[in-house]
Amino acid sequence: MTTKSCSSATASSGWVGEAGAVFWKDLRAELRSRYALNAMAIFAVTTLVVVSFSLGPQALPPPAVAALLWVVLFFAAIASLSRVFLREEEAHTAAALRLAAEPVHVYLGKLLFNLVLLLALDVLLVPLFLALMQARSGNLWLLALVLLLGSVGLAGATTIVAALIAKAAARGALFGGLAFPLLLPLLLAAVSGTRRALEGASCAAAGAELRLLVSFAVVMITASILLFEYVWSE
């Protein structure tokens, strides 16, 4: 880890530019191939329809709506967020990237890409979901805050797990299995925060959940930055 800190000191001129280059590269390739976008959209729409269809016209209480929302978000994330590294391994482009780029910049670029993907999912899915669930709108600011912080943590933890499983066999099943236990605290806090938002609570009332979401994201991303070099160079 000492080598990394000294090498990143010499690179301080442009880590934003280099991580940004990885992000733009992924975004451009994704907009052309739509691997992750399609997987995510199909998954989100299907689960949405399945949930809505199986519930029928009845309106659920906020705790159930909050739980269902995060179940759908979690699985949509699992269906699509592993692509960032899987694609590099499957297309055998990882070696070219590894030779050229600083590992931390690769992680940050991919993290940003996954985060943007998740936020796009939030924007598209959540209004639709709440409309179908006939949920009362509650405190929208709190809801947006919980979704934003939850998405940062979700992206932070899943990106490093995606890097971990990219070199393993049976990756699809592994990704969810490895990511879920890591995400448990995040999901508990996010569900609880979403429930409070739907019940119309103030942001202060959800302070404990928000603090947990922030600290979870910070801890997971910091740990990922420290560990990524070992995972990526395998």
């Binding site: 066999a169 490895l178 995400l183 605290p185 508990l188 600290s215 979870f216 995972v231 395998e234």
Partner: protein, 215 residues
Amino acid sequence: MPLFWKLLCGVWVAGVIVAAFLGVGPAVGFRAPEAARILFFHVPTAWLAVLGFVLSMLHGIHYLHRRQLEHDRCSAVAAELGFLFCLLATVTGAIFAHVQWGAAWNWDPRETSIVALLLIYGAYFALRSAIDDEERRAALSASYAILAVLPMLFLIFVLPRVVDSLHPSDTVQSGGMSPSYRLVFFAALFGFTLLFVWIYRLRVGVERLALRREG
């Protein structure tokens, strides 16, 4: 392990078992005072599950530093033992929860944590079996073992403050147990830890021999 420690371990654990059933009376303050004796076994297994987990992480860090496969094997052995005791803790916990709180499972923070631990161990072994190359397997599973400790810290230390817990968090520290209970309780902790160390050293010895035979 020297013979002395093996003998001590055997006699000690036997003594703890006898004491747990005959040495102390029924516990007051519980819904089923006789059934509360299970705590002498439940708490040590939960502690050993966490010990195995932490040991696995420490060996993981060691491996990433030194790149010696021995540390990887130690990490895996610690995780195996941790998983075993984690299962025992879950089962003993569910039995007691059924008696004490009326339902085997309530998703209180401790129960959530133990399930997270079970899932993490399960994922850890799934990851190991999915990677063929030995060194790659070692590095990636070490990274996961390290990463997995972080959410556990949240579950153990942060979540109980957000959600109410059924578990008594400070009965032990605040002296809520009678002296004889305390004695048997800590004796059980020590005895089972000794047992853990014994099994752990045996398994590590086997792995060392296997490594040496492979070259």
